[in-house]
Point group: D3
Chain length 332, copies 6
């Protein structure tokens, strides 16, 4: 467990982000002097890839009494089935009852991002996917979102915060804004090349002012061997990026002798669209995926008490006692 990475924040520890009724529950139980050892199980509402467990464990390590706790869990990035129990905590209830909201929320959001990323990665059959969705989420989760995408198999991400969490370098090309401010794609590409450190790949965005094929040839001629890729991001108003466009740009680059220049595609990508490119035989060298990953619907998790002081119990609709799951490993 990398504690430094997922140090629980003050707002979580204080109960500020929790549902108020858990805070009240702890108050009542304290007043009543009730603090039984209770077993809580957390299960997922649908299948996918589990993510967020590292952070949950960091939280539990901080709040559970070291001498009276037992925690079983699946691992970060492990596959989970619908209804599968992914976490089981046995400890005095007052020590962790307040954090049910946070535990469920962390797993819900992180697992949804990792699962969506995994779907794109599976569809791409080895072609790298970069997570480009930071712009579609609230800034305070841009980092954890990109971290989860990396857990899900993405080869890179655009946010600095996400790259830090995942222990990699952030990825990125250039925005339309740079080209518009500089007035020309070739000029912007040359400036990019001039100032950026050598390890940053030269990727030129070629749909801003001119036909993509024409612009690809212009930047290739301007940068020569140094050009790593062109990025196609044609807007929907112009038909979006199609497999035919990729094939044509590829053919025209090859005809002009630039067969080493790669093609990177972005804009409205999801597993279905990625599959379309692959099935059409368009030779894409990388995909940048945005809101399909970052806007993935959280996967609901549910927490239930199943034992109180060792005795099976459950609310109506649930089975009392421990739910067997041989995949669970003891982690604490």
């Amino acid at each position: 467990m990398k504690q430094s990475k997922f140090e629980p924040s003050e707002e979580v520890l204080s109960g500020d982000t929790t549902d108020i009724y858990f805070a009240r529950t702890i108050d009542i139980l304290r007043s009543e002097g009730l603090n039984p050892v209770a077993t809580m199980e957390v299960f997922t509402s649908r299948a996918g890839m589990l993510c967020g467990m590292e952070e949950v464990k960091a939280l539990l390590a901080k709040v559970l009494p070291e001498d009276n706790r037992e925690v079983w869990a699946l691992s970060e990035g492990e596959t989970m089935d619908s209804k599968e129990v992914v976490l089981r905590i046995t400890a005095p209830y007052q020590s962790y009852g307040l954090y049910e909201t946070a535990i469920c929320g962390i797993l819900a959001h992180c697992s949804s991002w990792a699962t969506a990323a995994r779907e794109c990665v599976a569809a791409a059959h080895g072609i790298p996917i970069i997570s480009f969705g930071a712009r579609h989420v609230y800034p305070s989760i841009a980092g954890i979102m990109d971290y989860s995408a990396i857990v899900g198999g993405c080869a890179g991400c655009s946010s600095v915060a996400g790259a830090k969490l995942a222990g990699i370098e952030p990825s990125g090309t250039m925005p339309h804004a740079l080209i518009i401010v500089m007035g020309d794609t070739v000029k912007a590409t040359i400036a990019f090349d001039k100032y950026m450190p050598p390890e940053v790949p030269r990727v030129s965005l070629v749909d801003t002012f001119k036909d993509e094929a024409e612009e690809s040839l212009r930047v290739a001629e301007a940068l020569g061997e140094k050009l790593d890729s062109v990025r196609l991001d044609t807007p929907g108003e112009r038909g979006g990026v199609t497999a035919d466009l990729v094939k044509e740009v590829r053919a025209r680059l090859d005809l002009a002798g630039f067969s080493k220049v790669k093609i990177f595609v972005t804009g409205g990508l999801d597993p279905e669209r990625i599959t379309y490119f692959l099935e059409s035989g368009a030779q894409v060298d990388g995909f940048g995926v945005g809101s399909y990953i970052s806007g993935a619907k959280p996967i609901d998790f549910t927490a239930d008490l199943h034992e109180i002081e060792g005795k099976p119990i459950a609310k109506r609709g649930r089975i009392p006692g421990i739910t067997p799951n041989p995949k669970l490993k003891r982690v604490m």
Copy 2:
């Protein structure tokens, strides 16, 4: 503008949560000595309720040069059409280029929550909606999510952080956990009543161990006049909460003389389900909505440069120059 409420965080100001290519763009432009006055417009990909603008304004107030800026915007909570421009910034590009990711992200997420909340509120025709979805999102956004739900018309929310941002008291009943730990619904309800301050309404959750109608009568008899409501949250394994269940509990409470006790419904609610209750004639007194609001898909926003030093310009697919929108008001 309530600056204290939406003070920009260090991670946003530092560019840590931004897409790396904006950071690089600013580097390049600085190296080139280019800092033209540029006009950026932000438009939404679909219709809904705008939210997050207060926070965006707080950010811009901090970063734009006071003597060389002009900002036009729609207001927090205002309705927006598909493709409508909601924000127009004119200022030296280096002062704000780094924040395109954060600006789009704040609006995307907050507007999605407010819009989803608004849909529930519209469906409920005056019956109060409480936002109960904190458990389905990453903890660091529980507060802003609940704030946005309140902007969208919710009467309350369960997270402490959200209530603070919205300037109200948090709402909540009791969790199944309290009842399971105490072993009986009546016992838990009496304890709740004993320790909670008088202004907290006594709402008893009645589906944990016994038939909902039977349990409703038991808690009503135990608390008498003090009981404000019963909360029905029947799990799907037991058929969920149905309009018929609500009608029957209402009838049995009335028959036993408890016609003042209200009925609060939670579990899998969305506008369609709320409409079902209303059209079935079930007399619900409040709804708690979870993942329909908190898991709403972010509404993509797009930022485009439309003028450089007063001259119309635009990338392919967009119209150069200012996009007229008489609804915009100058805010800075």
Copy 3:
């Protein structure tokens, strides 16, 4: 042929239940002195299980002249294909022309019940099905309906008349009315046990006043070893009987040491619903099926003349002459 069982009724023999035009036809032919030996074939409009043939044969045995008749038929309970000829009669037309309506009607209704029962039995993969649909049909056919369901594979039926025809004991549990009159499920179950002969299995209906799981444990504790089964019949207003409910009741009975108590399910069952229980892994020990069997749409049968005095003939749309069907056996 068990003639005692299917003695033709006076109203059939008199022609009272026939279509008037057959009575008129016989009148005309008599007046004209026409009574040729005619061959009539009866075929089914859709595939299924043939039933009612025993009764049809009893009727024909009574009305056809013994020395001038030839009857070929499929057997009771035999499978039939769409359009298959199931009966072929060769005899003087005046002897049987009046009974075309009755013959078609008996086969139509009995075959529909047997076919529907067969579908349920097939879906249940060995778990017994009891026919519980007498309450949905006109009383004079309750017996023949339940008889047909037994032919279709049901293990029992609830009507006394049906059980008599099928030569078995009627099956049944207890109605909600008994429990409501006695005021409590446990009390009603004890009274049932006190007065019923020992060979009647003790099956307690557990959804009348309390939660099904709670009530199951109460009756199990009250009757101990004598309790054979609990019956779940949760109404739609409470979500109906679900696989999850069955699993939970099973688990709670097992936890309490009552693993020998069986679970019998009723309410809105059909092959699709039965399959749902099996595929969900819910351990049901018996199903009671009502209107899916008793309200099955009659399978239309059609009777056509194909030979007159040995010469092939047919109306337009049909093929003149005998229709070959090697499955037919000579029965008269």
Copy 4:
């Protein structure tokens, strides 16, 4: 109440056709000495036309104690809404508990037939409908089925038993069998005319051996003014009866001077098909409907106890106490 018409049969009175568990319930209550005055309500599962109530009343008149009974009911042929209470009995439970199965069964089947007939009548906009479905039901219900069809608005029926119950003459034309036995349609029609009493309309079936239009002209020429109608019953193998066929036969009859000869259509008719003929402008003078009416799925009825000795009670899922329905009239 016409008691002679609906004298309860011995098999109903004896409990032979009931579900065995009602017989057992009466045994148990007798042994316990329990016979409270109980109120049972019967409601329908879907909207339609109520039928069978006359027979139910005849049964109740026989079994309920005259000095301790109160019965409220809708009338035979009255419209009922989904879930509407159509019958309320207050009497000592032992006097009627045994008959719950029969009461529900009578109403279920009769109402389904009347409702289906009503739908055909509504679709036909005044063109008479004759019930022709006796051949698709078990003979013992042919009569009550046709009676119900008449209650539903049919102008006639083919079974003798049904006509008796409804107090009318049975209707019918001639079967294909008569024509096939006689070898020619014209010959059969002339024989029919020769022997049938004058009040029976001469309706000739014209699709047996020759083209329908050709045969229509042949029989019209043979019978002249005496021919009332031709009946079209073209089998599906020949395309069934179509609106175009009706129009053509009409036109050819008119051209030949037989504009008074009517056209009667049978074969696979239901409200949708009847509407098709009317909307196509085909001039049909009468429809014969078979299995749409006789094979209509029984409308489930449910009986619930709502008061015991004047006190509201009900099983889970139902509302205790009397269900208000101002349409109910006291009938006993």
Copy 5:
């Protein structure tokens, strides 16, 4: 009747293009000495606009005996309903029997083109439609196809032969081939302007080598006031012509002062697509429609004999005698 325009061809008059069985029929009738005055009616299988009647009349004028003929018909371009009789010929059968194939074929094809054209014209609400589909049909019908499109409301057509038949000038812009051969759009446009007569509008095709918006500005600057329109024909590989593209080209032309230059759209157009442009608010000045018109499925016409020597007759399925249609006018 403009005889010069629709002079019957030798291959039609000779019977070369007819179904062989009509030639044989005439042979047989001649051998038998049968040549009755017969009335043939021609009706359409579906609604639409009638076209080809002028040519049919020219044929009939040539073959029917002047002193023994009566022809009633709808007019060229008149609306017809499904099943409507559009032509009625009364004359000696031998004079016209051979031409049934040709008459039906002319009306079938011409009416389908006119009807499809009419649908486009209706969708365009006044914006001119040019028929551009000659390239999708066999050359010998290019002219009559374009003539029919003009009857259907098109403002022009691209084929020389069609324009001649319709009495107008052919319309056209320039093909991609000209631009590719000349190597540059501006160069080709200047050459076009240099050599074409002044009355030919200068319409430049702007999607061959460069971005459409960029190319539009280049040709506008090169030709100045002389440029009439730009034509957008973006191929599907590049997303086709979209409403957004039209709006953007319009806006960029206007910004550059070329608001008089019109925009002409071609490529995959049909009424639905035309409606899309109009509903999207894109300001299109003309549409070129190809295969939707030229490849329209022929509208089947059927010819039936309804009278022989004044006596009503008809084959099965049709009504004997004259079919009344007050819209028919006597034309011969």
Copy 6:
């Protein structure tokens, strides 16, 4: 190449049927003195059977300079995939540019007819298909349409012109008109037999005045051994030709000893309907297909320039240079 068969017509050679803009292009290039050797490729928009290539080759042989041309093509009747290049011409552009419209049009229409015919032939599994659609197309293409149907696999065609092009005898039976004029089917059949040369098969159309089965027996008895087939063409008003009708006519013919008389079916046939007859087991001996073949939607073909003077070039959306297709053979 059979030049006599496909001699290019004057209207094609003159450019009369071409799009005007090709004529203008040639004018401009002549004025500019530009006549480069250009390579044009023609590809199909969808898969099918190529037809019309013989005629295209005859045209090219006439117009291309013998000493400076290279033509590669697929063969008449060869299968082609979607987007496949079927023709590649390299020659001075002025020699063939004018004929792009005609080349595309010939291939479009002929390939659509051949492809549709091929689909019917495939569905018929060896039962012969006759092309009967001349009546649904403009007369000038009746011949080429039937020729294409023969290329597609049809065993015969009804038009004289088509049979000539294909080098076979035309096929046909008799029209309803002959029977109506003669007043009786048997009479018409006898006359047909009397006057037609012996090699024309005697096929009698049997649905005009009487029931098809009855009429079949009548003509079989009248003609005896000479009768080759009966043709069923029952109109939709009488239910059309069904598999059951075919089976019944077959059975009645066989019963009467006419098992050698074949059954030929026409009316509304397409591959789906043909498959229905085969799957139903109806023994059809021949099908006559009309508008499915003759009204098949033309298959769009597109012509693109890919090289100018040996240098790769292409408009946007296409790949510059020769498109490899090993199936192409050099034909000139």
